[in-house]
Amino acid sequence: MSTVFGKVVKLILLERFGPVVEQVGSYLFQYGTNPLLYIMKYTELPLSKIKESLCILIKYNLVTFVTNKNENLANYTLKPDRILLMLRYPKYNNLIKKKFGDESEMIIEEVLQRGYWTASELILKVIERLKKNEQATSVSLVKDKFKSLVVAKYLVRMPYPKDDKPVPDLQIQDNELYIFPDIDNKILAQINAGAESMDKIPDKGIYWTINFDRFHQDMRDKIIVTAFTKKIDDNAGKFVELLLRQMYIRTMPWADSSNPVPILEIKDIIRKQETHKQLLAFFDQYVNVIEQDNSNLIRKAGEASGGSFQIFMKEAFIQFAWETIEQIVLEKYDSKAARIFRLVKSKKHIEPDQIQKLAMIPAKEAKRLSYLLLEENFLQIQELKKSNTNNGPNKTFTLFHINLEQVVRMTLEHCYKTLFNIMTRKNHEKEINKRIIVKKQRVDTIAMDMREKGAEEGQISDIEEMITPPEREILERIDITLKKLNTVELEVDETIFLLQIYLMYQ
């Protein structure tokens, strides 16, 4: 865990939970697993505050705990990777919205906001929100939505303590993870109508939380499908999408490569769906083109039942990682540098003279660029000595090569740094315009208050005009700036995700 990464984590905690939680989190990041008293000693915060912070962090599953040797004490560990995921929340919401619709999105949103919750309470909350938006709904509808999220494994049951101990030992059996409890619609409806109190919910103590892995699986698949769409065309993308879908029937989601999928299954689905006529008409041709693509990610595994195919996930992400780095080299330096980088990649080891010749770049330029890439750690150098000659000077060969994993780790660091820079800038923009932002907030609350009390429009606009036109302009500008920074923050996270998946497969 690098320092930049720690800084990013720090900023996220600060942004979402405030300075006290941030201090506790940073301490745990720096010093690893620690008991409560140590945290107190080093952070010099009052005990109550620390307890509160740990509570929050545990609630959101950002900190875990295990018993110390002394069974009455707990050791706390921070989960920094998990904190980084908080940046991705909008993406998770979006994904569910596209796949399951608004109600499901609300469910996920609520769980993300609270860390965990019971099904009943969640359902009631969503119904309440829907009512506010004046959308028609019913208990059974939301419940079904909830159920399907559990069945699809987007939600997972929280582990729970078995016996009463000072430091609870949270456990859960594998078969309990995705079992939806029996909930009587009637009781929920009654509570909803105010006829029963909240205590009556039937599934007390059964908490649900987000299964991030499942989301990442979807995001991974999306990357693969878009990649094939971009490289070949829509139809090829569709084919790969279906291949992935069929793959889950017989393969563990995070396996390096899928088990063979019979091609006829896919053809059947396409025939039924009737959306991709082209793909159906030229099915065999598409299979051929995809199989023979130079990426070699989808290969024929056997001839049985019309042929079956395997998709190689690990290799896919190796290739994506290469392309990512190539793109960075291209944008950071120029097309000549990218050419050299790809040349070294394809030759594995190469002498400087060869680079100039094969890449068709003037000798001086080639030398400058390859040593620049070396200096920036995109290339590595290896020296070979030929020492068995007795006469004359010893000959040494210099060979360039690339260590992809190392470059990816470096790039990932760089991504974190970029995140840190963007967030710092964001905070800075807020900071320098603090006065206006605070004023705006105050005016807004007053106006809202008055509106609720039924004040006249004229009075309200008087209040709103306390913000002068130049101030309004500044506010608009800040708004655009922050939006821009937020968007790019999400986009950088996409790159991070891709590289992380690559590293995960290694």
């Binding site: 490289k231 065999d284 190539e326 944008e331 950071k332 094969l358």
Partner: protein, 366 residues
Amino acid sequence: MFTTRFLYGVQEQPSLQHLFAKTRAGWQSLLLLVKNQLLCRLSKNYLTTLSHVFLFSTFKNLLKGMSEETKPSVSSPNEEALLDLAKSQPEGFNNDDIKQNLPNVPITEVTGIINKYLKNGTLEVFKMKNSLFYKYKDPLKKSDVKGADSEEKVVYKIIEESGNKGIWIRDIRFKSNLNTTQLNKVLKSLETKKFIKAVKSVAASKKKVYMCYDLEPDSSVTGGAWYQDQDFESEFVDVLSQQCHRFLAQKWEDASKQGGGPLLIRNRSYATATDVHKFISELGISKVTLSIDDIESILYTVVLDNNAERIVAANGSNLYKIVNRFLPSLGIVKTTCGICPIANRCASTGSVNPKSCTYLTDWINY
């Protein structure tokens, strides 16, 4: 011809009248240039479509190529027959021999041919027993170094042996056992007499090699088609690379228009280096004759730029096809920090920091 020379000379945008006044060239030559995409029309003015740098290098070659085309360099069968005769008679031959060996060539033509050869030094004439004799002179071996002393002869011989690859001065010194000053003198004198010449090698910028005066240096010395006066012609390579890419893209587009399914389209998109070679030759952007191998190496740069793929066909030749990449433009390269040259020096404190960074400010206000 005149038009091109004129354009080459001025490198600006001459008007039509301007061109006519200066060159007497007709529409024909202008149209030819436009067709070859060496000129484009810019309202009333004509402008070369190529960049200045490009003008200097390739254009010069182009002009050279054009002027050479005007000279008929192919020899007629009669000329060759006479040449054969000359080669078979190292002692020389006279008019009677010609009559005997080439009975059906009219005497006027024989005179013409002989005059031509005498002029370009393929034959030499001398008088023997009151009649004229001709003798074949091997152009590669002018071993009679006239008016040279024995040292010059030795050095010349060493240089001659090295052929068109040339020989380095140090090696001459080793072989001839002359000391440096002496050798320099000899070399200088041979050079002024135009027996030998010094050629700069592309292998090392300061290294000169010597070779016989009328030899064309080997491509390992000149660097082949990509070098002009020891300089690598980067722009020339770039333009060629772009054109190759364009050709492959076009090929794919044509194939997609024809339709017939993805496999057919793909198979029709493949091109061999020979196809591309033809296209490049027809474009006329290069008058240095490029070999198929040259085109292969250019195509390889397209492959390296990730714009094409190369596969080996059943007959062992390479096939090229345009390819797309997997990933769209990435998030990280959209940020200034992702591609920032001074990112290593950037920290939360210090003069380079994200709060006051101008790159970021520009990007935000963009």
